[in-house]
Every structure is written in structure tokens, then in C-alpha cells.
Symmetry: C2
């Protein structure tokens, strides 16, 4: 059982989630699914990232992976102890695994992912003491804003596809 607690106030959590949202918007500008993440150590952002799967043609190009890699590079250590990771969408197995490997201490996310989320929804890989690390997890930080980014993106995508189909018919 995970008995860790957050050391952050709601205000601070929302402040960093807004930074993750900024990253998600960068993805959206590139027509990528808008997901963003930041890694924070001692109140300072040491890693940022946004989803780049389509542009990079790389299945592993998730926001959290870029944020973790940048943080490791910046602190010149693969162990991100004392780190807090903020991400707009609940992490998938790959990103949850990367958080375990890099020993991220606290994970905060916005919207839940009912299809693939492994930080509480389908399972909680971050709170399984068979692995050699357990992280504190908190969901629902600016949940509506984070979720709306995705809802709007997919709505626009559907509308675009519909229009293209109609144009082909005409």
C-alpha cells in the first residue's frame, strides 16, 4: 500500500499542470494528439515534452518520455529522485514504466485514460510493490482543461474527415 503523500499545494500543482498544458498545445499546433508533460525538481522545471508520434514516426515519442529524457540530461543522472512529473493524460504502460525506471517520486495527471491508463484506471503500475520503485500518484489536476484539449482535438479531426469524404463525393 502506497502511503506517500503530496508535498505540494493545489496552487502549485495547478501552476505546473498549466505548463504541461502549454506543452500539449505545442503538440496540437503540429496536428499531434495534444498531450504534454513537465518534470519538476525542487520547484524548477528540468524537463518538458509533448507528443510527437506522427511527426517523428516513432511509436515511443510520448510527452513523458521527452520530459524524462530531458530531465536526466539536465541533472546528469538517470535517477530523478525528488522529481515530480505532471502530465495532462494518465500515463500508458510505457510511460508508467519509464517513471518507475527513473525513480520519479510523485506523478500528477489531469484526465484519466479509460482505454490505456496504467496509473489507476486499468491498473496502477506506479503502486505495485513487486517493482523496485513506488511513486505517489494523484489524478484530476485541471482535469477538465486537460480532457477538453483531447475532446476538441478529436472532434475537429472527425469534422475534417467528414468534410474530406463529402468533398470526394461531390
Amino acid at each position: 500500500m502506497n502511503e506517500k503523500t503530496s508535498r505540494l499545494t493545489t496552487e502549485v500543482k495547478e501552476q505546473f499542470m498549466l505548463e504541461a498544458i502549454k506543452e500539449a498545445k505545442k503538440a496540437e499546433m503540429l496536428n499531434e494528439v495534444p498531450i504534454g508533460a513537465v518534470v519538476v525538481i525542487d520547484g524548477e522545471i528540468v524537463g518538458r515534452g509533448h507528443n510527437l508520434r506522427e511527426e517523428s514516426l516513432d511509436a515511443t515519442a510520448h510527452a513523458e518520455m521527452f520530459a524524462i529524457k530531458e530531465a536526466c540530461k539536465n541533472i546528469q543522472n538517470w535517477r530523478l529522485e525528488r522529481a515530480q512529473l505532471f502530465v495532462t493524460l494518465e500515463p500508458c504502460p510505457m510511460c508508467s514504466g519509464a517513471m518507475l525506471l527513473s525513480r520519479v517520486e510523485e506523478v500528477y495527471y489531469g484526465a484519466k485514460d479509460p482505454k490505456g491508463g496504467t496509473a489507476g484506471t486499468l491498473m496502477n503500475l506506479l503502486d505495485d510493490d513487486r517493482f523496485n520503485h513506488v511513486a505517489y500518484v494523484e489524478s484530476g489536476i485541471l482535469e477538465e482543461e486537460c480532457g477538453m484539449l483531447l475532446t476538441n482535438f478529436f472532434r475537429k479531426l472527425r469534422e475534417k474527415k467528414k468534410l474530406l469524404k463529402k468533398q470526394k463525393k461531390d
Copy 2:
């Protein structure tokens, strides 16, 4: 339930696992934990990788991640359909997740990882139909050779540490 079956003969499986072992030995030469992987499509190796965590100071620098990224780059597609991945050690959650995301069709590994393996040991993330992809998994390919690489590496590491401790005392 995963009803997929392997399309490969034992000889072919061992041939590609020997290539993954070659990668593991490259890691060992760099004093990294000897783990190696290759991605194969239509009988051809399209991605190779070995563990580089210490040298790269990056927690995510696992053999499978490099092999998957290289394969995506080579075929210019993030979907590695029809791909077979060979890795000397059972994948961790991050690498299992990366295999799901890249839609690897078949995963073959050598030694089991009792501490963190998520392709059959602690759980099987590759055969969970709640995710949007399921892969065929087969373990035990050149298991002894793959396991011995790790056993020998950690034995030498312990001996080195013992020697250093003794030298400090003397």
C-alpha cells in the same frame, strides 16, 4: 486469451536470438548490464539495440527501446506490424509498453526477469486484451546463454567491488 502462434522454426528463433546476444555483448564491453535486442521484419533485421543506461545517463536507454526506434526509422512508420522482437531478458513495463504502442506482432525472449518482467513473470502486459494490441510471447529462447551473460556480469561486478574494498583496507 492469446491464440496467436509463432511462424518461426526453432533454428530461426535461435539465429535471431544470437544477434540479440551480440548486442548484449556490446553493452558488456561498455560495462553496461548485458542486454540486447533486435527487431525483425520479413526475415530481415531492421532494428538493433543494447542497454546504455549508465553511459547515456538515461533511465529509458534500454536495448528494446533503441531497437524499436531504429526499426520505426528504417521502415518510416511507427507501426511495426509483422515485426518480431528478440530480446535476451524478459521486458520491463516500459519496454513491454513500447512493444504494444509499436504493434510488434511477436516477442521472443531468453531469460526470465523475476524482479521486473512483465511478459509473463510478474504479469503479462503483452497479453491483456484491455489494451489496443496483443502480442504473441515466447520465452526461453537460448535461455541459458542469455541468463549466463547476466550472471557472469554481476559476479564479476561483485568481485571487482570486493577487491576495491580490500584495497582500501590494505
